[in-house]
Amino acid sequence: MKTALKMAVAVLALMTAATGAYAKGSGEQAATKPMDVYYADTSRTAASGDAAVLDFINRKFNVNFHYTQFPSESAAAKFTTMIASGSNLDFFLGWYADWTNPRSIDRAREQGLIVPLDDLLAKYGANLLKDVDAKYWDLARNGGKIWFVPNVQFKSKRFMYVRQDWLEKIGYAKHPATLEEFDGMLRDLKAKNPGKQPNFYPLIGENFTYLYLEFLGSFVETAGNFVDKDGALKPEYFHPNYKRYLETLQKWYADGLINPDQPGIVRQQEREQIEKGQAGVWTTWFGDTRLAQLQKTDPGAKVTFMKAPVGPSGTGGAQSVGIFSGGGQVIMSHCSPEKQAKIIQMLDWFQTAEGQMFQWYGIKGQHWVMQGDFVGLPAGAEPGKLLYNTFYIVNGGNMYAHFIESVATDAGTRESRMAATSGAYPSIDPADYMLPYDWSKTASADRLTDLDTMKTQMLTEIMTGKKPVSYFDEWLEKWKSAGGAQYLKDLDSQYRKIKK
């Protein structure tokens, strides 16, 4: 009897100790009700995440997490009004780079709508500070304080895919490495038409810009602005190889290697071409192999990544990862200190490897499992359901690191997939580091849209053969007088300011 009592007391003591430890550990959380946290990700315009994933987040952080989805064409309007009303918005992914979105970070900071993050990061953001490169934190500083958590992703999110089953059919054991080999492969595809399509045009891009940028890197090593021999930063038009690129595009189009609708095509149409088996090589957003849809109509289809071919520039397309995307998470100033802390804690967890995998694929065991070094679906799951970042709700940094696991389209090793898709041609565009420059305050600001329109029109006219390549010189003069000359000045002056 005495021993039984002693044991009971001991068990009770143990339990109390355990509960105490537990309570201490999740201190405030266990005692308080969930906090409402509102988030808007302005980089995506789609519903994502499902109930189980949301539930996981709510339980893990003791929050009621609400995220706003923007219907795509109204995203700007919705976001603008949310900021203007301050309602239902606690933190959001703001954009810094000027040519993509309104400079929401700068504006929000100027109006006092967001808070500096230094103290919060010091207390709760160990993983963030460790993983995100120091030079990006530099970019996030203004007036000595950090204003956003840099969002690190791909520099160029385009990749090239190829119908691997067709290549095998026509005898290409290895992917082409040089531009000549790539050209030969396109012609072989067209001539042999392994998909038996009535009108077959092997190459297509999700939109014209994607196609253009994909092969630009084979001619201009930075696939964009480059530093010329005098040390000045110039757009690609001034590169010695540029006209050769125009010639190549024109020839490919004239020989029926590029889909004739390319100038006006949009993503949905490109996808339909791929799914109907009318594309051999395509450049699109990295998550978009269309394999699941393809296999519904053509079960033998295989899709793999293809590296952009090496051209006169000595390199290929600028596909690289781990680059500052031009955006970052900001916290609105109306949030209480507790909420600010909570938000940084969440972002910090999303930065960890575990958090990354969760964001991308969902709950381990429920939405995905590891199969070797691939991410795969658990037994019994609906095929085709595993998509890149289906589940990511908060666009945390370093999001690129794990997509490679689910590229279950190539029988090769993890290393080969990494090599094919990332790091091979690191971005060296110096303009990457000029993001703090506010273009809206430059003299050429009014004309940026015109210059862009001129560029697209020129490219279209030359590629489709409506104008000869020699037209480019005349065009460049027009470009200069339409605002290009001032743009060159602005571009170079800011580059010299930042060049160290």
Partner: protein
């Protein structure tokens, strides 16, 4: 009407009418006139983060926002396109529903009438995004069904959506397809409202069918047509933003880029809210001038006009 001589007497007599107008007047004041303060942002460097007070405190920049589109090398082109496309649409698409209404009116079989009515108004409900997809399926060079047909008939394919010559007609025809049925509803209602006695009187006077249409139906429609025409003129610089945005592409910017699509691109790449407001203000001023002028013309011909 029996006269009320003094103003006070007349106001009192009509007091119920004035009372009836109150809800609408209040509504318009709150939801239409108060936001008009926002037009000031056309002349300011305004961003919505500045909130409501920003309407009054944002830096004044005069006509700088207007210069974004007027100073463009494309300025002449976009204005010309806007006017031409709008003009083409008015010329072809404005009369079409009237003609359709008259044709439907001629049918005796009510079942046929009703089914034609129903079928023709349905396209109005399909958004341009979807129509764009259908058109692409038909007209694309690589796999469009029409082009496949053409190749069999005449041996080669035609670039419809990328062809500056054809593009404007595609705009007109597709919008006519979408709106002619829906537009005829108003005219059918107007025809239904014509006093049947007028027809009887005309036929007693010996008018055959076509003379009845000429002397009764058309004049009966004229006030509605006039009003609708004047309203359409007010929107003369609206050439079909959503439609063009869906269908256009760089090869046809030269003929299809209108003020709204240009400003949309400026906004997308630079987030310049004030430029969009400036463009809207410009369109409103021009539309206003057009309506005032057209209304004067209409009244000169003896018609009632808008006011």
């Amino acid at each position: 009407m029996t006269g009320g001589r003094t103003l006070g007497a007349r106001l009192r007599r009509y007091r119920l009418l004035y009372l009836m107008m109150v809800p609408a007047v209040v509504y318009l004041f709150v939801f239409k006139y108060m936001p008009i303060f926002g037009l000031m942002t056309a002349f300011r460097d305004y961003h919505p983060t500045m909130g409501l007070r920003g309407f009054f405190t944002a830096p004044w920049i005069g006509f700088k926002n207007f210069r974004v589109f007027f100073g463009s090398i494309y300025a002449g082109q976009i204005l010309a396109n806007t006017v031409i496309i709008s003009g083409l649409k008015i010329a072809f698409i404005f009369p079409a529903p009237i003609v359709l209404a008259l044709m439907i009116n001629e049918m005796q079989n009510t079942v046929f009438q009703r089914s034609i009515q129903t079928v023709t108004y349905l396209p109005h409900f399909i958004s341009w995004v979807v129509i764009g997809g259908i058109l692409f399926d038909m007209l694309s060079i690589s796999s469009g069904s029409l082009n496949i047909l053409l190749e069999r008939l005449i041996g080669h394919r035609v670039d419809f959506l990328g062809n500056p010559g054809a593009f404007r007609w595609i705009l007109v025809v597709s919008e006519m397809w979408k709106e002619v049925g829906w537009g005829s509803i108003v005219y059918l209602a107007a025809i239904a409202g014509i006093d049947t006695e007028l027809y009887e009187a005309a036929s007693i006077d010996g008018a055959g069918h076509f003379r009845q249409v000429w002397h009764v139906t058309l004049p009966g429609l004229l006030p509605t047509v006039t009003v609708l025409f004047l309203l359409r003129i007010a929107a003369i610089l609206d050439a079909g933003f959503e439609q063009i945005l869906v269908l256009y592409s760089p090869p046809v910017y030269g003929v299809a880029d209108i003020l709204d699509t240009y400003v949309y691109r400026v906004g997308m790449t630079q987030g310049r809210y004030g430029v969009a407001t400036a463009a809207g203000l410009f369109k409103s001023v021009i539309g206003f001038a057009m309506v005032v002028g057209a209304n004067k013309l209409v009244r000169l011909t003896g018609q009632k006009g808008l006011y």
